[in-house]
Symmetry: C2
Subunit: 188 residues, 2 copies
């Protein structure tokens, strides 16, 4: 018998994504979003869901592009800062000392110090309720050399991403592997 | 200077969600999805993106409801099995020995042995490309007593969810906390 907890957005793992955009005046901004994920394999797409009140919302509506920068665990503090403050009142790059780099594919900046970044072009905007979902086609994924494995793919143990846990309001490291996908299940 | 890896769906962390539905004949089915996430706070919503070829796709189109059951790390094998096989050819509950329970809120089954489940009613269907996104309003979240904390919320250290890493094709445990959200960033 399971206990009813009510209609809440409490799943244990959500991503911690720093969404990069330019303000109307060209100043780089970044905001952490946890309502995000991959939503299509072909074309490769991800989404971020944002409240209309955010500057990032307005920036994406204006330029129809954004980047996602994935922080390593040692940037938990900066990622949290990107989520609790607004670019309307502070310069988040300046306060954190992190570096905005203009994407060469989309008119949006990414966070240089974060090891993995994704450049997206908005292909659909879905109104849901408090949040609007921006579906972005992934134009490229870029990573630092030191987080890549021999197949030229990001090694999760080197990227050291974090997840957010809405129920506990905590960020967490990724732990040991519990199995290989499309493989361990075949034992059954 | 970051290395270009191409337009790929490789973010380090995606959820591992067992999506429960009934087949046309009323038989319970379950499929693991990694293309999923929270997409709105009010109404509380999550989505799963599915290929039209899956039985779960047809089942959701038919009944417009689904559940999400979140496996603990000790069910990695079963979760993988739910993702690599099709309910068109096998009875996934029977093979894994796991138990379908009919939700009392939606016409869909959940996995009894998984500690946290979410009951959803489809409110939007978004065609993207290979995948179709089903946006479900969260009607309730239910959890086993032994994974709840003193605030009656799921404790991630007891739920022990796993994440999937598309680039390495590996499942991973969740590790230690790296900080409290809406708090650690204020140090900056």
């Amino acid at each position: 018998m399971k206990n009813s907890l009510g209609a809440k957005t409490i799943v244990p793992t959500t991503p911690v994504w720093a969404v990069g955009t330019y303000n109307r005046d060209g100043k780089p901004n970044v905001m952490t979003a946890a309502w995000g994920g991959i939503c299509c394999s072909k074309p490769p797409c991800l989404y971020v869901s944002l409240r209309k009140a955010t500057l990032t919302y307005s920036n994406i509506v204006e330029r129809k592009v954004f980047t996602v920068s994935i922080p390593s665990e040692n940037y938990t503090k900066e990622a949290d800062y990107f989520g609790v403050t607004s670019g309307k009142t502070v310069d988040k790059f300046s306060i954190t000392g992190l570096t905005p780099v203009k994407s060469d594919l989309v008119d949006a900046p990414y966070v240089k110090e974060f090891p993995l970044i994704i450049e997206c072009k908005v292909i659909q905007i879905v109104e849901i309720g408090l949040h609007t979902e921006f579906i972005g086609e992934i134009l490229d994924v870029k990573a630092d050399s030191d987080v890549l494995n021999e197949k030229n793919l990001p090694n999760i143990e080197k990227v050291k991403p974090i997840i957010w846990n809405p129920a506990g309001m905590t960020y967490h490291k990724i732990g040991k592997s519990t199995g290989q996908a499309f493989s361990i299940g075949k034992e059954l």
